[in-house]
Subunit: 381 residues, 2 copies
């Protein structure tokens, strides 16, 4: 019994972009959508009511982090992740596969599964695919992910081939465990993950295998893992083309505003990325003309808001001078204001993308956005 | 031209407690009032709109910190502290006198003034009383403080006598500089500061001298500087009695909920204290039955809010288990929720005090509050 549904409402004539709607037991998500990352059960600096106010329709939790702290059993005993973090809208959890690489906690990987050491206390844990699914069922998100192996770009083609085949074998085991756990219950939607690095044949053979399992949606993994950006955008259309058009496509961990706009044009529906919140904490904010290092000394007496035409809380009430001061002296409000602005920027960007697609002017909107955004970033770079 | 006015609306029959209202150019303050501390131009973790929502009618800025960062000239060039931090309600600044001791940055003190080294970069600064006033005029708060010397309790009677006499001489110089700077302008209200430690004769002679300068209000300094709590509450009625009843009395840096209730009974109108926000950051919350260490492991699966009957944002939406998790993993939202709860608690406490005074039942309210509050604190202590 899956509450999950995806419908496409409008297809762009000039690209593979599409406007859609995902329905889950916790509500609807207009796509293309950006999912703010709530790593440890909170989108850093935000209170859940603020995310609602910002219009976030879905947020993401990291299984690896939540499994370690507070523990998936604690969350289950508190009524599941929605209730634990007091978030009533849709939730997605990843499988942990990416963190094992990004945090460099991997001990051993073989067909059995993954063994890793906690980055917190060094304790050892084994994570067969079945466990990744069981933990995600305990957390109880609306969309969950199969366990994948996500090697870095430098692993090279022959290793990526091994990892991709393993990902396919694990996908089957994840699906089987998912079906066992779902019997007679309202169950989450399990997405398969496409691996294959920058190699078209590997992507195509992986997709072919995944399609036979009939997942309700697919994630594109193994990008933004160290490859040159040109390679990302060369392989991305191959990925979207070999995944079925009637199911949502989720590009994991991407990316900059420009990356997102390009990926939408290639047919991607869902995104997540740490950039808006991580940049905020480093004192960098996004504007329609590019990034801006707000903690720079040149803003010390600047009475203007971060971005003149922006309607976010930070820009409606506070000056660059004040934001810069708060960041300089390490005050939490500084992080809150830059995070608010950046997340507002990303969510507005998605809103503009959806409007442009629905009004049949995505190509011209994209051109004008990229011209304006690029200009400033190059000036600053 | 002072916009400052104080009127007493109700006097308690059983104590020296009174209900009052202070009027300033930026609005009114119902007294007895608690002033949240915005050390560096922000009440830690809060956005200004949230403080309005919580009902804070006045907040405090620290001259020492703002002078060093971003600098009083920067704030002046941004239109003053109200505009810089986007706070439209009343503001009070201290003189810096207390920080020189509490941060141990004092180099030299003599009749000329204070010399200190920045706790940030070790730079040397000299602070004659006139400068403390000039900087506060640049910041532009509604209520400002004369520079005082605030020796610790262990300094002993003979040194406290020296410091108290110096405080009186400085008060005169502060007043004179204040009048120069105020000519023809809307000016803040300058409060004199009563020193004299735990010594009744020193308090009385200091008060007598201050009264001759006709300050619009007085602060009681030199308490909560290391003396036993019994000594504080023995000297406090001496202080309030020798300060004129028709002017507001501000007890600096005090205190716990119990201290505040007792001090209101002794005739104090204004309070500031770091306790609600500092305790919040250490994982301790205030409840009507006493303090509670919310980061304790016993709350790991507790679905109840911090305090059952509390109406604050944290208690309306989140569980102890979630707050405890956030604090354990170092997430900002944890600090925000405990700070919100604690400041709400303090502001509600003042609201209850004002209601009890106005309804002629302060004595019985005080008895019942202290019985309930004490019980739990002793159990835990």
């Amino acid at each position: 019994m899956e509450a999950f549904r995806f419908e496409i409402r409008y297809k762009d004539r000039d690209s593979w972009a599409r406007l859609g709607k995902i329905t889950t037991a916790h509500g609807e998500i207009d796509t293309p959508a950006f999912m703010p990352i709530g790593t440890q059960g909170t989108v850093k600096t935000f209170e859940a009511g603020e995310l609602e106010e910002l219009g976030a329709e879905i947020i993401l939790g990291n299984t690896y982090h939540l499994y370690l702290r507070p523990g998936s059993e604690v969350i289950e005993s508190c009524g599941g992740l929605h209730r634990f973090i007091s978030w009533k809208r849709p939730l997605l959890t990843d499988s942990g596969g990416f963190q094992f690489y990004s945090l460099k906690v991997l001990n051993k990987i073989n067909d059995e599964g993954i063994e890793f050491q906690s980055h917190i206390d060094g304790s050892r844990h084994s994570f067969p695919p079945e466990r990744a699914i069981k933990i995600q069922h305990q957390l109880g998100a609306d969309i969950i992910m199969a366990l994948d192996e996500c090697p870095p770009y430098e692993a090279g083609q022959s290793y990526v081939a091994v990892a991709t085949e393993r990902t396919v074998r694990w996908a089957k085991r994840c699906l089987s465990e998912h079906r066992n756990l779902s019997e007679g219950k309202r169950s989450p939607a399990l997405f398969g993950i496409l691996q294959g690095g920058v190699y078209p044949e590997l992507r195509r053979s992986c997709a072919e295998a995944l399609l036979s399992y009939d997942f309700p949606g697919h994630a594109i993994g193994g990008l933004a893992v160290g490859e040159p950006i040109e390679a990302t955008f060369e392989i991305l259309p191959v990925c979207t083309e070999c995944l079925p058009g009637e199911k949502p496509r989720y590009l994991m961990g991407v990316g900059t505003p420009r990356d997102i706009v390009e990926a939408v044009a290639a047919g991607v529906d869902l995104f997540d990325c740490v950039l808006p919140t991580r940049n905020a904490r480093n004192g960098t904010v996004f504007t329609r003309r590019g990034k801006m290092v707000i903690k720079g000394a040149s803003y010390a007496r600047d009475p203007a808001p971060i971005e003149e035409e922006c309607g976010c809380l930070a820009c409606r009430r506070y000056s660059r001078a004040y934001v810069r001061h708060l960041l300089s002296v390490g005050e939490i409000l500084g992080l809150r204001l830059t995070s608010w602005h950046n997340l507002y920027f990303y969510l507005q960007l998605m809103q503009q993308i959806r409007e442009a697609i629905s009004e049949g002017r995505f190509a011209s909107w994209k051109k004008s956005f990229l011209e304006s955004y690029q200009e400033r970033e190059e000036t600053e770079g």
